[in-house]
């Protein structure tokens, strides 16, 4: 009896795992996995970056080229409301 019950539970979990990409639950994971196939938007180490544009804390648009000639550090952080 215990063996059958355990098999049913584990089997259901296995089916859920295999079917995840096609369920509503799997939307975010599927999108995340697809990101692996996207071409990289920016260059590799040693290559010049494209003229990226950002919005600063005052709402003004800032271009990477605005900092040309100055040492610049760009950091990316995940916001709380992602």
């Amino acid at each position: 009896m215990g063996r059958i019950a355990a098999t049913v539970v584990l089997g259901l979990l296995l089916v859920l795992d295999l079917a995840l990409p096609w369920t509503p639950l799997g939307r975010r994971g599927r999108e995340a996995a697809e990101r692996l196939d996207e071409p990289r938007a920016v260059g590799r180490v040693g290559e010049a970056l494209p003229d990226l544009r950002f919005v600063d804390f005052e709402g003004r648009e800032v271009k990477l080229s605005d900092f040309r000639g100055h040492p610049t550090v760009i950091t990316f952080e995940r916001s709380v409301d992602w």
């Binding site: 355990a6 979990l13 296995l14 859920l16 295999l18 995840l20 975010r28 995340a32 692996l36």
Partner: protein
């Protein structure tokens, strides 16, 4: 069947033991001054703390599986191992759903399927209750 179960316990035991020893050694190595970058993936001191804890727990789990006795105790060890594997699979599925480790692609789901199959093997290969109590 008891022979297959013993082989499964020993194989999984050795793998967990090796993984645990690797985790513990990596943790000690990362404690060396200026050696923060040697860990397999970036993690802060808190992550390292739990990494070391996991390594120690794996050493215990792997050792117990490797030395799994015949009889009821060995049977119960298979049951708890199957439960732990199912929990590990569930966590990997949740991580894949959340997309937090997107750079791993489908690996969390593949690992989850593998863990569930091994858990099923533990459930089906463990000796029947009567025969394990007799031995």
């Amino acid at each position: 069947m008891a022979r297959s179960y013993s082989l499964l316990c020993r194989t999984c035991g050795v793998l967990l033991l090796l993984g645990g020893v690797g985790f513990v050694l990596s943790s000690f190595r990362a404690l060396a001054p200026g050696a923060e970058s040697v860990t397999p993936f970036p993690m802060g001191p808190n992550g390292l703390y739990f990494f070391a804890f996991t390594g120690c727990a794996l050493v215990g789990w792997g050792g117990a599986l490797f030395a799994a006795p015949a009889g009821a105790a060995g049977r119960r060890l298979g049951t708890t191992t199957a439960l732990a594997l199912a929990l590990m699979a569930l966590y990997r599925m949740a991580v894949w759903v959340m997309g937090d480790v997107w750079w791993l692609g489908e690996l969390p789901r593949i690992e989850a399927a593998l863990f569930l199959l091994i858990a099923l093997a533990f459930v089906w290969l463990r000796p029947a209750r009567a025969s394990s109590e007799a031995s």
